[in-house]
Symmetry: C2
Amino acid sequence: MLTDPRLATRTRHMQSNAIREILKVVSKPGMISLAGGIPAPESFPTERMDEIFGTVMAKYGAQALQYDATEGFEPLRVALSDYLAQQSVQASAEEILIFSGSQSVLDTVAKMVISPGDIIVTEEPTYLGALSAFAPYEPRYRTVSTDEEGMIPEALEEVLKTEAVKLIYLTPTFQNPTGYTLSLARRRAIGQLLQTYNCLLLEDDPYSALRYRGHALPPVWSFAPEQVIYSSTLSKVFAPGLRIGFCVAPEWLRPWLVVAKQGVDLHTSTLNQALAVEYLTGGHLPEQLATIIELYRPRQEALLQALTQHFPQDFIWSRPEGGMFVWVIGPEGLDAEAVYWSSVEKGTAFVPGKYFFAQPETGLSTMRLNFTMVDESTLDHAVQVIAEAIQEATAETA
Amino acid sequence: MLTDPRLATRTRHMQSNAIREILKVVSKPGMISLAGGIPAPESFPTERMDEIFGTVMAKYGAQALQYDATEGFEPLRVALSDYLAQQSVQASAEEILIFSGSQSVLDTVAKMVISPGDIIVTEEPTYLGALSAFAPYEPRYRTVSTDEEGMIPEALEEVLKTEAVKLIYLTPTFQNPTGYTLSLARRRAIGQLLQTYNCLLLEDDPYSALRYRGHALPPVWSFAPEQVIYSSTLSKVFAPGLRIGFCVAPEWLRPWLVVAKQGVDLHTSTLNQALAVEYLTGGHLPEQLATIIELYRPRQEALLQALTQHFPQDFIWSRPEGGMFVWVIGPEGLDAEAVYWSSVEKGTAFVPGKYFFAQPETGLSTMRLNFTMVDESTLDHAVQVIAEAIQEATAETA
């Protein structure tokens, strides 16, 4: 592959995120979109912001507008230490580093550990944003089979046995795109493998707070904290427009992440970090999170019910206990992209699942449906439209 | 040099910014610091923030809290187009990309154009933050001589003639650390060289709005817009804690910068971009900038006057018409680091200039003095202390 001589050679591995390109097409007025991966605007604490802002300026004043430490705003590291303790992540403030969204954690970790040609293990399908963070560092990928209980440890061990794996990337809870959650037994087994093979895991956990049913599971981090970078974000429980992500990293890696971040953006917005402190410690989070869950739970139920009602018998789909996505697998031979175009013509969009697979010609019959942006009755209508599009696509094939 | 096998090979080029390390030492209570490079907190529009925030929430509501385009918040790109037009940068909103501080521009440009071993030309001395942004992409450096009128075009041409230069990095106005400003004739000459050798320049312009005397000069960009990435920031005219930087880039490079930024942090904080829109368009900037200049101008005058009064005759220093720094060159043989330690003992800090030189054992007799954080009478006192430390260091040498 030729590279423009004005550019770095690493650009040959980089391309625009296909989902964002698709979203451009579906942004026309009137389109019902199950394609996005973003929170509903009505889930944001918009009404609380004046109060939060007022408290921040009263408490921190000019400090909230000034440069700050690369590691993160100290009061936020302390507040996150308390927040994480409720989620089986017992980390001191010092062990927590703040980043400009969890995307920035993915970029920085890859920058620090991946030399060109190093192997990263991912789920298949996986989160595309992670691939665009990793791409400039020129890794090679190995994918590991995944089922409804997440990555299969035996399949992972096959890879670890035969290859020098530099990093594993996993979203164990309510994964994007599948909604799958790694079972407790597999969390334990993977933690054990990390220790046995002394391999580093980047555990991406943006969705676990969005739980509508069932019981929380401890992160893989809790089974092997020396081998895991635990990464999360306030984008789904506060507001993505603030770009606050964070990670808990092993001691040997932490100074390197700080050096790298210093070169990338000096530090994350002090003002937004101060707003996050007030949101976490001022009693806002528990109330707002309850509101968010009460918004999404019925939407997810409506989507699952509509699928049962309208989709053909030979389709299956995930039934996650939380998160933002449901994953649909059509019968072999289904061309989900043909369904997509037909459905978009009828005014309803989703994402053909093949975009989440590294291998070409894989996942052709799959679809990712998002349920956070649309209300219950619209979801029912949207699923009917997609079902019609499926019928047409199937009729054409037959 | 050995690299920890858990890390990427690129980490061998990376190290913590020495100035930030020095700043840790000088943060003890009571220390007078001329070492920093940050704006005075009293220069921030702290009192205006409630009004600005209120307007933003009223105007944009949940949109200010939502994900947004990688390219930047559209109203901010429009507002910056107007702002830049006042500074001889005629760029449409579409040509302007928003980044998370200008540090993030430096990182992203280097990521997109520098392959390992590619040559970057810098001034000597140069801004350390740029070197930490560039380091992970493993460039080689060539330095070009600089005098009171900035980089010497003839010296630059010598390098361009003999080497394949991938990128030139310049801070043409009130440079950090020297305060030097590239003369108009040299701006024109360098613009001409860029075209002749079809070479790319990264023009870093954080300080030009902080002008206390004399007339504004057009950026090098205006002489060769196809060969220049013009980069600037709102950190010095609004607030650094918001992390709003931006650049104007040639058309061929822009899509690549967007793809890279998507992988690094998806986009810059929507809320902070919306605050910046209101600051720029709501009539705040002109009043606040006048306040900032009236704060810094007398400080800089006090520093220059104190140097004349207290420093030995064989020292020379820059007399910039703006910015945040004055550069002092002591007589050959002076060990400015010895002066530093002696001065710190007496309660006054600055930065020994050698840290800004790529070559070891260079710039040993130089010092960078910042004047933004300290009032006039304290500046006079601080210069007296440093003068005493010089006397002691010189006596010991003699």
